[in-house]
Structure formats: C-alpha cells, structure tokens
Amino acid sequence: MDLKIVRELIALMEQHDLSEVEVEEEGHRVRLRKHVADARAPVGNPAAPAPAAGRVPAAPVAAESPAGAAPAKEAPGTAQVKSPMVGTFYRAPNPEAAPFVDVGDKLTPESVVCIVEAMKVMNEIKAEVAGVVEAVLVENGEAVEFGQALFRVRTA
C-alpha cells in the first residue's frame, strides 16, 4: 500500500470531517479512524477518553488544564495508585527515613506507599492493589489533588 494514498485519505478525512475510513482491496486493507473528540467540545474538555493509554498527569496541582485529574486510561496489566485527598505528597515517614516504596518493590493492597499531608495531618496511603511498583509519578514534597495518580503498578 502506498503511503501517499494513506496521506491523501487522511487529508480527505480532515477536509471532510470524517471519523473513520476503511479501504480493503485485494488483500490490502486500510482503516483510518479519527479520534472522536467532538469538534465542538471546548478545548481542554476531554469528554472522550484520552486516545493514548498510560497518559499520566504528572504535573503538580497547578495544572494548566482543569482536566488534570481526569482519569487516564490504564494500559492492560497496570494500575495506578491515586491520591484520595488533596495535600502534600511525601515518600517517606520523615525526611531522614527511606521511602516507603521504590520502583521494583512488591506491593500488597495493604502496603503503605506514601503519606499525603492534609491540614497538618499525615495520612498514610495504602496501595489497594497488589503488584510491583513501576514508576513513582510525583516528586517528594509536591502538592497533589484528588484523584491524581501517584504510582504506576504492574499488576499482571
């Protein structure tokens, strides 16, 4: 299949506001589908799920977009530990101590993974999933909002 044709198909799609094109020809098959983000939805209004999996709002609280805390789709076999509250994220029980968890650590649902300080109260956050820590998504001492992803965990 000639890429030029694909490009032309894409141009046609864009020109005519199509959401999907599928062409099959003698064993060749092209199927193009445009992200169904509503052309009319306001920018920064991800009513539809983000197209790519694993999009992580790593930005701190001062996110440009109000959609900062929008749930990102998770890749199969991974889960996110999210902040159940607004506050400040700490990886360790005190500045001298080692982090609760690090990349590669095994978690049970009961594992304490971090502290979120809210109104001077240190709240221990539990993993609530079993798996292996794949990434720490927030810097120590950063502010986090409700629903913000803190850790990525491989569950499979």
Binding site: P42, P46, P66, V86, E145
Partner: protein, 448 residues
C-alpha cells in the same frame, strides 16, 4: 488587596468571583469536583485543584479538602460564594485557625445570626419588629398550642436552622399544629441535624423584601436599598427586583434603618442581607439575616452601579467603605430571574443532561451571569441553576418589557428550562401592576 484567593464554590457564582478577581488583578484558585472537570470557567482560574468526586459532601462541602487545597496553593483568603460552606461558622473558624481569611463576617456573628431564634431576639432588642411568635425554640406541644392561641391562627412552624423553605409548615388550627409540629421537627432533623422549631404568626398577603447591608472592618455600615423577592415557589426565590414596587421612599428609609439596626447589633461586617416580610398594611417584620453574597445580588449592582463582589474583596482586605449612606442612589429598575434546568410541565423536576445549544440574550440593559455554554452537561449532583438573567431599564415598565424581550431571545436546547414559566409570569397583570405576594406563583400554578 489580596494577591491570591481560593474560590470555594462552583458554577455561576464561582465564575462571578473569578471575574471580580481578574478585574482587580487577584489570582484565583478554583476547586472543582470530578463532575465539574470540563466546566469552561475553570480555564479562567490561575490554578485549579480537583478536590473530590461529584457528591457535594465529598467535595464542595468537605472542609478538610478545601482547606488542604488552600494550603497547597498558598492562598491568602477563601471566597465561599453562596450555599455550600458560605454560612458555615465552623468553616470560618477552621479558616481562621489556619490563618486563611474567610471572606465573610466573623464566625461569632454568623453563629448569632444563623440561629433564627437568636436572630429574632437580637432584632427585638434592637427595636426591630419581628413576626409575633414563640420567644424561643418550642419544646412542648402544649407550649406551641398556647403561643398559637395567643397570637392567633394561622401560624407558621419554622426550623430554627432552616433555609430554602425546608422545615416550614402552616397550621390553621390546634390539630394541624400538632401534626405540623411533628413533621417539621423530623424534616428539620433530617435536613439540618437539629430539630429545634419555633412558632410564629402567619402573615397573609405578605411580600418578601430584603435589604442589602455592607459593613467594613472599621465599623461603618450602610445599606444599598432593597430587593423584592415576592415571586417564590416552595419558598425558593424565582424573580427578584430592585427597587420594590411596594416601597415608598419613606418606607425604604425606615426598613433600611431597621436592617442597619440588626446588623449593628450583630457586629456585622462584610456583605449581608436582612430579610423582611412586608404586610399589606406596610408593617414590616424582620425574618432573618443572610451572611453571604446572595444569588440575587446583581439587581442591587445594576441599580447602585456597584460591584458587590469587588466590595467584598475590598472589605476583607481591610479597605474602608468607599461611600457613605447618602452617596447610595438607586437608578432605574433591575429585575433578575433564575433560569433553571427544570421541567415546569413536570412539577419542576430538575433536568440533568447536555445543553446542546445555549444562546443567551444580549444587547442594552441585559446581563447574563452563567457558567453554561453550548455542550455543557448539567450535573445531577448540584442545583439546577443554568443562568441568571438580569435586565436594567429606566423604570419598571421598561424593565418588564426588556425582560420579556430577553426571555424570547434566550435559546436553551437539550434540557427543559423555566423560561416558559417566566414568559407567563412577566405577562401576568398582577406582576405587571406589582400586585403580588409570596404565594402568588403557587396560586398561579394551581397550588405548588
């Protein structure tokens, strides 16, 4: 003036506060629930913080989450808007203990005025008439009966911590008082976790007239005239206007003085509203004081030329009032109506859903306060207010004509709204001649 404040509210009033802040050069932090994450007005804030899921109890009513959001974003003050935590004295106290300024009166004043029995007592002591009734909370049924017989039926049973018409009952005789008392108590218990009720005389054919008061931290207090909110349905205001068609300048002067007397007695600062019942014989009775910006504040803004939210921010930041009582002039007539996503054909059931087209009216003398836009989704978690439509014209007749014109222009598709009801109301002879009382809408609708 503040550099940065947090807006602890949502929807049109959050946008209203953001507007005032932007014009004053104050940075804003908007908090939002997951249900509001797509709201367009959040783009206008300098920062946004998601504080919880849709239900208000876990977001807009959750004090720790809001305080945490204020702490991590390092704001100097919190504007509570109306509803939610705006009249919650405990919230104001927590703010104080966290060294964040609550934009509103002191927790002490709020507590005093938040309890209707206390507030009545305070008004009486300040020489302001209140509706005759029980001196305080009624505990025994026998006491209620004796009060009712003394002041004469019909009487009203009211929750001491009520609001928005919940926990209200009218009794016409001993029997209906007994049953009403029990019903009102359990309703109040369910709604406010407090079962205290009191009994007072029911004033027939009364209008609802309220005065906007404003006090600075230096102790100066003025009022900004009245709003007539007689068009109500189930004790929810539908239409508000200023000036009231029922007040003479002399009556305005007397009621304004009464409003100030109550405010002074309560040590009132910031913006507040003294609500009165106005009987057909021009006798007025203090009902309660609301310690926040009101939904209907724009009508006062239109006739006075002031921006009340800016005034709130100025007062909270320690500035003195910029005008004296004699500087306050009411120009023309302003009317507001609340456009709700409700189905008037179906007992005003709220209509959640997507607003496919939202085309508000414009042109001269027309103001729209709304957070809604084409494509906006009305969430089932919150009240159904879509927009406040306000008109301002030289006189009441022209204002009514402008309101009808603006309502005809207002296009909302995708959800049902109260616009058709308003078109009927503003065409009704009784409204046009100013001959209404607080029961008018329900009578018109055939009993609500």
């Amino acid at each position: 003036m503040f550099n940065r404040i947090l807006v602890a509210n949502r929807g049109e009033i959050a946008l209203r506060v953001i507007r005032a802040c932007q014009e004053l050069g104050i940075q804003t932090v908007a908090v939002y629930s997951e249900a509001d994450k797509d709201a367009l007005y959040l783009r206008l804030a300098d920062e946004t913080v998601c504080i919880g899921p849709g239900p208000s109890k876990q977001s807009y009513l959750d004090i720790p989450r809001i305080i945490s959001a204020a702490e991590i974003t390092d704001v100097e003050a919190i504007h509570p808007g109306y509803g939610f935590l705006s009249e919650n004295a405990q919230f104001a106290e927590v703010c104080r203990s966290c060294h964040i300024q609550f934009i509103g009166p002191s927790p002490e004043t709020m507590r005093k005025l938040g309890d209707k029995v206390e507030a009545r007592k305070l008004a009486r002591e300040a020489g302001v008439p209140v509706v005759p009734g029980s001196p305080g909370i009624v505990v025994e049924e026998a006491e209620a009966l004796s009060v009712a017989r003394e002041i004469g039926y019909p009487v009203m049973i009211k929750a001491a911590s009520g609001g928005g018409g919940r926990g209200l009952r009218v009794a016409h005789n001993d029997a209906s008082l007994s049953t009403g008392l029990r019903a009102a108590r359990s309703e109040a218990e369910a709604a406010f976790k407090k079962s205290g009720v009191y009994v007072e005389k029911y004033i027939p054919r009364a209008r609802h007239v309220e005065f906007q008061v404003m006090g600075d931290l230096q102790g100066r207090l003025i009022h900004l005239g009245e709003r007539d909110c007689s068009l109500q349905r189930r004790h929810q205001k539908l239409v508000e206007e200023s000036p009231s068609p029922a007040l003479t300048p002399e009556a305005r002067q007397r009621m304004g003085a009464a409003a100030l007397a109550v405010a002074r007695a309560a040590g009132y600062t910031h913006l507040g509203t003294a609500e009165f019942l106005l009987a057909p014989d021009s006798q007025f009775y203090f009902i309660e004081m609301n310690c926040r910006i009101q939904v209907e504040h724009p009508v006062t803004e239109m006739v006075t030329g002031l921006d009340l939210v800016k005034e709130q921010l100025r007062i909270a930041s320690g500035e003195s009032l910029r005008l004296a009582q004699e500087d306050v002039r009411l120009h023309g007539c302003a009317i507001e109506c609340r456009i709700n996503a409700e189905d008037p054909e179906n007992d005003f059931a709220p209509c959640a859903g997507k607003v496919s087209l939202f085309s508000p009216p414009g042109g001269p003398g027309t103001r729209v306060d709304s957070h809604v836009h084409s494509g906006y989704t009305v969430s089932p978690f919150y009240d159904s207010l879509l927009a406040k439509l306000i008109v301002h014209r030289e006189n009441r007749r022209d204002a009514i004509a402008a309101m009808r014109r603006a309502l005809e222009e207002f296009v909302v598709e995708g959800v049902k709204t109260t616009i058709p009801l308003y078109l009927e109301l503003f065409g009704h002879t009784n409204y046009i001649t100013g001959d209404v009382d607080t029961t008018f809408v329900e009578t018109y609708l055939g009993g609500g």
